[in-house]
Amino acid sequence: MKQKEPIDITAPEQYELNEAPVYQFNMNRRRFFQAMGSGVAIAFTTYKSIGGVLSEELKAPEDQVGAWIHIGESGNVTIYTGKAEVGQNIRTSLAQIVAEELDVRMEKIDMILGDTELTPYDRGTFGSRSIPYMGPQLRKAAATAREVLLEMAAKEWKADRATLFIEKGEVKSRQTKQTINIGKLTQGKEIVKGINEQVSVTPPEKWKISGTSVAKVNGESFVTGIHKFVTDIKLPGMLYGKVLRAPAYGATLSSADVSAAKKIKDVVVVQDGNFIGVAAPDLHTASQALAAIKAEWKTVPQPGRGEIFEHLKKTAQERSGRDSDSTGDVAGALNKAEVKIEQTFHVDYIAHAPLESRAGVAQWANNKLTVWTGTQRPFGVQEELAEVFNIPKENIRVIMPDTGSGYGGKHTSEAGIEAARLAKEANKPVKLVWTREEEFTWAYFRPAGVIEVKAGADKNGIVTAWEFHNYNSGGSGIQTPYEVASRKIQFHPSDSPLRQGSYRGLAATANVFARESIMNDLAIELKMDPLTFRLKNLKEERMINVLKGAAEKFGWANYKAAPGHGIGIACGTEKGSFVATCAEVAFDRSNEEVKVLRAVTAFECGAIINPEHLENQIQGSVVQGLGGALFEWIDFKDGKILNARFSDYRVPRFGDLPVLETVMLNRKDIPSLGAGETPILGIAPAIRNAIANATGKKLFSLPLVPNGLKV
């Protein structure tokens, strides 16, 4: 089956990238073989057009190499990419792709990820880009390696290349029954080849390793507690660091007296501009030293949670561009519409709250800095460290061990920089782990937003007018997948009093929530079934398929509501993949509680690479989405976060779990796409619409029912 060419569906949104990528590649050929031992290496570039140049020797600029595959003398295969493992199990799915093409066992594959010294530049792990971009290139690189090895064997055996094949790490001859381990073939050789863009790869219908549920790589090291997260690293002589935090956003330091802290035995105090930090042989002493610092701060009044939506609206800017769209005569179409809705939505700031908070371990030796940190952008951290300490990037190594999750929340470098500053002063390694309160306060949030929608439909249930303005939360998912002749869609950046950034699914969580709520309410006005109404306005077959898939599994058509129960449906698309969720809720009037009973999610992201891990991502997204849908919100006043603890900030727990069902549509004719983000989109509007169905109460804010529901 011929696959469609991938399009750039995963262009990063404004909140995902703060600066243009500066390419860089540390590992030249010489150093590569010095580090790896001899063997065969396949390099591939980040730009397709350069691929051909690489045919005989590595001639492409080093800064455009995307990844390496190396086959060593032991027959072990090592993949070097700058991607980061944050729990999306990319270590497993990328290895599956290589195992497939090279026909080697999974155990023979080692993946070196997110280490600026060992891996080629990568601008970061976000935007669901690893599978659609890294995946196909890695597949071709592995296939190229396979061809190189077959040619080498053909030469050695003076055999016809066509009679040879690779099976489980061995080259075999169909005619002579000769076999040779691929490692043996590479012995003593140092061969670098570029990717062959024309190489034939295994089509999805013939996959034997991709497409199967290979278990999480290194699973045992996690269930035994052996895996070293950044917070677990301990270096000889290491100190523990703490940083003095401002009492509120925007506060400036007026004065600080660190003399008492300095008097404590073995304590190192750093005061450098607006940075004040301490390091001590144990955390207890570091905390004591921090408490001994007397600091005066000047705070500034600023909008709190009570004024936020007004503030975002007031400070909004006009902007057109990628996230905007204007077609037809919206005002005229609204005028003529049979059914009209005009509605404002509010979306609160929420926190990623990764269970492993930000952490950094830093060590200076011989003017070289090594930082271990949990980040989705190891090379971004390297650049920031270079800037902050004014040293060349080549003297900085950032290592990112598989980390305690991110969800878009770990693009930045704070803990690494702080640890490095303290380590420099102390002349000893320093570990710095943010407390939960620090993580809740000083990390960044999913943006709050205001969304205004005007929509109209004719009496046949065709949406004819669509005006959609998003203030502050972002442009992802803002375009409507429905066919509407007259539409005006705009994203307006605003001034955010809190620090904000990317979050799983980005602004699509907000935009899809508003759009799917309006679609639901239009259907109600038209007295149409919400599913039928959506299908009537859709042409995109992939969206239609997920809607039908979810509805069928859910039993949408034959649903009979028990008293207080109701159902809702919603769909969305982002990063090239499609999701639809049906939810059933029960409302208990006596205690004003809404309980989500069931959620069925249908998802389609092209050809499935690992079904179990995909199901896990879908369910995980839905569970995480429950929090933002029902009760998660950041409370703040005058720059102070008022609920910076798990006991005050409610996250989904076991007791919040509905019955979760998943429909995975496997489109082998569509290239595999990322799955870490899009499945989160359907749950909030599906629940919202189910609440409306159950109670007649239409809600227009996220979270929906942080304090229960009054009807």
């Binding site: 199990n89 996690f222 269930v223 035994t224 507690g225 269970l355 782990v433 995480q624 006991s647 727990r653």
Partner: protein
Amino acid sequence: MELQVNEKKYSVEAHAGESLLSVLRDRLDLTGSKYGCGEGSCGACTVLVSGAAVRSCILPASSAVGKEITTIEGLQKNGSLHRVQTAFLKVDVFQCAYCAPGMIMSAVSLLEKNPKPSAQDITQAMQGNVCRCGTYPRVVKAIQEAAKI
């Protein structure tokens, strides 16, 4: 003070009131138990003290003196995995797996007390363990799986 951890005696110097988690991680290098919140509300630091699941981040180490402490590192016996670990691997529960040690220790404690827990029993016993990746459905499945082993 003397602590008995994973069937081994340790003599440790700790600050007054220092948490068991801090002693385990920073002084005994048993880093399997994790810091998640420091207030006993996420379960990442869960260990067994006299067989019962406790949040080691809010338990002063001194109050565990004379009691048997079991951490994730002590679950394996003679090199073989505990049945809960085996079941969690079999169900392939985790994404980032930072919550794994705490989840597993809570599950071990639950199964010791209640060898055949219902889904509701599991929810109740595990309510204090947070997984931000949302792998709860698989955790439930793994605990049910472990109950069969």
